[in-house]
Symmetry: C2
Subunit: 451 residues, 2 copies
Amino acid sequence: MPSQEITTDAVIIGAGISGLIAAHKLLEAGVEVVVLEAAPRVGGRLLTKVLSDGTAFDLGGQWLGPEMWRVTNLVRDLGLATFAQNETGRMDLSAQPLSSMDQLTQAEWAWYTAKISWLVDQVNVERPAETPNASELDVMSVEEWKRQNLESEYLRHLFDQLIRTEYTIEPKDFSMLFLLYSVRSAGGFEDLIDLDGGNHTMRLTEGMQTICTKLAEKLGDRLHLDSQAYELEHSETGVRVISEGFNVNAKHAIVAIPPNQAQRIDFDPVLPRRRMKLMQRLEMGSVIKCFAIYDRPFWRTQTLKAVDPDNLIFDHAMDASSFDDKHPALVAFIGGDDAVFWSDRPAGTRRRAVLENLAMIYGDEALYPRDYFDHDWMTEPFIGGGYQCYAPPGVMTNGFEELREPIGRIHFAGTETAVWYYGYVEGAIEAGERSALEVQKALGKEVKEEI
Amino acid sequence: MPSQEITTDAVIIGAGISGLIAAHKLLEAGVEVVVLEAAPRVGGRLLTKVLSDGTAFDLGGQWLGPEMWRVTNLVRDLGLATFAQNETGRMDLSAQPLSSMDQLTQAEWAWYTAKISWLVDQVNVERPAETPNASELDVMSVEEWKRQNLESEYLRHLFDQLIRTEYTIEPKDFSMLFLLYSVRSAGGFEDLIDLDGGNHTMRLTEGMQTICTKLAEKLGDRLHLDSQAYELEHSETGVRVISEGFNVNAKHAIVAIPPNQAQRIDFDPVLPRRRMKLMQRLEMGSVIKCFAIYDRPFWRTQTLKAVDPDNLIFDHAMDASSFDDKHPALVAFIGGDDAVFWSDRPAGTRRRAVLENLAMIYGDEALYPRDYFDHDWMTEPFIGGGYQCYAPPGVMTNGFEELREPIGRIHFAGTETAVWYYGYVEGAIEAGERSALEVQKALGKEVKEEI
């Protein structure tokens, strides 16, 4: 079957939340769009599993915080219901017996976290390379910085666990400057340490992917699923995207996919080498998100057992029950090298290991869920992992902030191009809005300066 | 046109020297092969430009050393002529006025290089992760190690220049353990410091690519150019490669491409996540190799001017005249971030910058070559850079040596899977031979234990 020729104002590659937001902002401004999505679904890193009775479980992004004004406004505008995260039974850094540490260890932890906090506050979030001592901080892995600044073996373990929880990568694999930048971008160090806090307090009753399906409905036949973009031709006068099924001719293109996926598109002419290198060097984290549904929320009435993190395959677990508590559930995250290891193991073996681990913390009742499912994000063909791309040492001081700069008529969205809330839904929305504004301005459309 | 179905014993993806050697070893052992090459030429990182009078210039790998017994034997068997590298006029570390340094600086350099040399000797070259203090050395970038161990600003510059010369990457971008491993793999630290020495003494009169074209001729119609492999299906009973034009069914496959290119093949079923991550994380260096041909070799009779390396876009330059001196030539290498920068500049601007730089060292005569050409290795679509893949911090202790392990009926070749002379032609041959032996053994063929 020959490909269908389409002509429009702007073509958007990727129907994650960033691309969908860009599409909506452009339509509102009177700019016509076509959205091409390689997968058979919208949502990207937002993916909701719906049980037969309609109950939603978020296999991907799950939480919101009150300071994320873009997404909370959007959720309100779309009329979506929210509910509070249940904090009983959380197993993570905040559940560690920090208070039972000896005084020396407590003091070292306080000093270490104060030092990081101080560094975080100094980050130039718009231009991370202009942060004081940027080059020194960027050549160091988080692991190396930890070794130079944290003596206690126990605290080193705790810190590793914290890093894997938040970043789904190993401290040895990424730049200290990237850590500082992304913490600052997402609201500061308190939110990293205090997992009960800011960024993880609210959930959507119908699940996070609903945001995307609602937005997609409004696009109608402007959205094409199963339409992987193979080639993006661009010149001074326009762009042309060759995809599975469609050849889209437009005035501008917005590339709204994770940077680690960009090399799957043949750009013609090729993008500047500097940009391609940059996108190639950003790597996606590794994560498997595991749900166990039980008959009753037994973890809410018992004391958690203290378990050496080295004996666990996940770094944090918590309540993930449905909003109405009809499906009491625990969720656990396997991240970093453990995720890579368990991605290669049979599903049944993984299930057993997760449940045995939950039983170590919550008791034997955890061994017998009425349902279990997990999602291995590394198997998503057009994403390749989660939660977000990270920068190995050396990248932040070598053009990182250029990720969001347009190249001719090609614009870039996706949470990795955000200034604030890098890696979050909030950042994805900021990036989608910013890319739409770029296109509006280039087309000479009136711009409402609400942002 | 429908794809042609072929059935054979072993299918080899990649007609660089490693894949070609594997093909030959298998044919010698009575195993039939088909070789698929994505590019329209054989040779991979060996590429020779032939002038109209037949004179050869190597745009890629250029030198051999006497200790590289595999390649020197091969060159002898193929009846190829060699000649000695002309050492007059070399501008690199060995031309720096080390002797004119003050005594303190000289002593620091001696101490620093002794320390690296000592560490190099401790490397477990077969299993780098088992090197003493491997984890500590692997979380550190070369830049970080330099900052901790080298005080003099002048020596730091010198060291950066040395690293870029040998590795075409910036010290901040790769693991200290990788540096130590690759130095040890290629014969030790003396060869790194003393560029006059071991690994860069000999050239081939007809150019290095001749090795590959000679090997390819013997394969006849078993070799298919312009046949990019898209998919590799594999099971317990065999493999099937879907390429541009051919579907090849075989008992075993040898993947003889750089690891950074492996994700361009869809493996079905997917390879273990651990292996895919490993291959993704290895990055290709960045290099542009520039030739200027002159009427006379004026650099052989004059004193080099001392130039601050910061004012140069390349890190080393040297004589590259044709074997008969009919084409006196200089060659310069732009490596690392400079190469990325100059890759994005127009060809004319780059030419002028290179020539002006050569003039700073060799005098104004260098401004007027009778011919100039360069090769930007980042533009090679199925290679993506040069000389070799390197490991960012954290990779060497996380499965690096598994690169060469077969997965079911899939075997791996290419210089990045070698134990000795990683990154060199010598390593590519070792890897090709080893992969052929694996297939021979798996097929129950007699194996001559000559290796």
